[in-house]
């Protein structure tokens, strides 16, 4: 029943690569998925200096927290697009019925989602740091922290997204489910900047953030998969 002689077998890697490519194509064919969380991040963080008369020094001390909290909220708002479309059009069923382990497909989906929504947040964060008068020594730990922390946040948020994908309006419920779970990342991420600004070694906190990422990267896909199977029933 095949259509010709040109059929090339591809292994697990090829199938996973195809999922990654599809997610990237999806993001680039609807640029709102990329631009909206980024715009939210920039606008929300710039509200702080506008909301009062802050001394630059005071602004500098709250800057890590402000940037981290707004990054967390931006991640949260970006999650809707991860499974919603696939759930509505039935593609999610095809993914669940694919012979390959769902686990790896989900890792690819979250990775692609981070590449188009999380990574831009990291890249633009120095601009916000400048706006919020973050001292020069804080830039490197901010970037390192966000680089390790945003994919962790994406992975954690994906669990909640998978659980709520069957519900029509899941925005607030998702936030209530996910924000408490995100606290460790927030504490260590913002703490990393403070630690560096106080001249203390950052190695320990970087290791903790990296460990959280590895843990989320290996365990979250199991939870996401289980949640999706429940949501699709």
């Amino acid at each position: 029943m095949s259509g010709g002689m040109s059929r090339t077998a591809i292994g697990l890697g090829g199938a996973l690569g195809a999922t990654l490519r599809r997610e990237l194509q999806l993001a680039f064919s609807s640029p709102g998925r990329i631009v909206n969380p980024l715009m939210f991040f920039v606008i929300a963080a710039s509200l702080f200096p506008l909301s009062g008369r802050f001394e630059p020094a005071l602004l500098g001390t709250i800057a890590p927290g402000v940037i981290w909290v707004t990054a967390l909220l931006a991640v949260m708002l970006s999650m809707e697009s991860l499974f919603r479309g696939d759930y509505d059009d039935g593609s999610l069923e095809q993914l669940l019925l694919a012979p390959q382990p769902l686990y790896f497909h989900l890792q690819m989906k979250v990775l692609a989602h981070w590449l188009v929504t999380g990574l831009p947040l990291v890249v633009i964060s120095p601009l916000l740091a400048l706006l919020l008068h973050l001292p020069a020594d804080g830039y490197a730990p901010l970037l390192i922290g966000l680089l390790l922390g945003t994919p962790t946040l994406n992975l954690i948020a994906a669990i909640g997204t998978a659980l709520t994908v069957g519900l029509a309006r899941s925005g607030l419920l998702l936030a209530v489910l996910i924000l408490p779970l995100s606290i460790p990342v927030l504490v260590f991420g913002a703490g990393l900047v403070d630690t560096a600004l106080n001249g203390l070694p950052m190695g320990g906190l970087v290791a903790v953030l990296a460990a959280l990422l590895v843990m989320a990267g290996t365990l979250a896909p199991l939870a996401i998969g289980a949640a999706l199977r429940i949501s699709v029933q």
């Binding site: 259509g3 040109s6 095809q94």
Partner: protein, 209 residues
Amino acid sequence: MLTVANLGCERDERVLFERLSFTVTAGTLLQIQGANGSGKTTLLRILAGLNHDYTGELQWQGKPCRQVEFDYRQALFYLGHAPSVNRTLTPLQNLRWFCALRGFADDAAIHYALNELGLRGYADIPCYQMSAGQQRRVSLARLALTSAPLWIMDEPFTALDRKGVAELEQRIDRHVTGGGAVVLTTHHPLQSTLPLTVVNLDALREVAV
């Protein structure tokens, strides 16, 4: 191929069906009948492995489906209510992903399948620019790409024009005569001359009462 033994399903404390048993072998064309809300879609989703909320057993080639999950998924093509076609992607992008999930890459076959369904020249047009019927055809192009022996189809004739319905019926017939098996629901009277097995969920419930 597929053996269904003593299958039962309740939803919200209402029995949809119970003690349902049948077998699907090579060359079976099986139609699930029943009124709206009688549990046809639920049954198909249970058979496809999307719904695990049931009692009884499903066996693939004599072994419980859950134990041979990989083989079963390789052997299964499921066409649900939703077309599984992403509207922002092109037919080519959609079908490439489908093929990759099935373990191969074959652009020539995709173009051939699209041409066969009257979608010549549409391969690179985003699906949201196409009509519901055309999107349905993109979804059906997957039939030409899959080598799965067992097709489970939920209302496959939805949104197709008369010619499309006839072509799909021919494709189903070809699959069944070629040693495949098809389990489907439809409200459209099948024109097929092949022997049709019918599972009627309404009759089943009357017997149970």
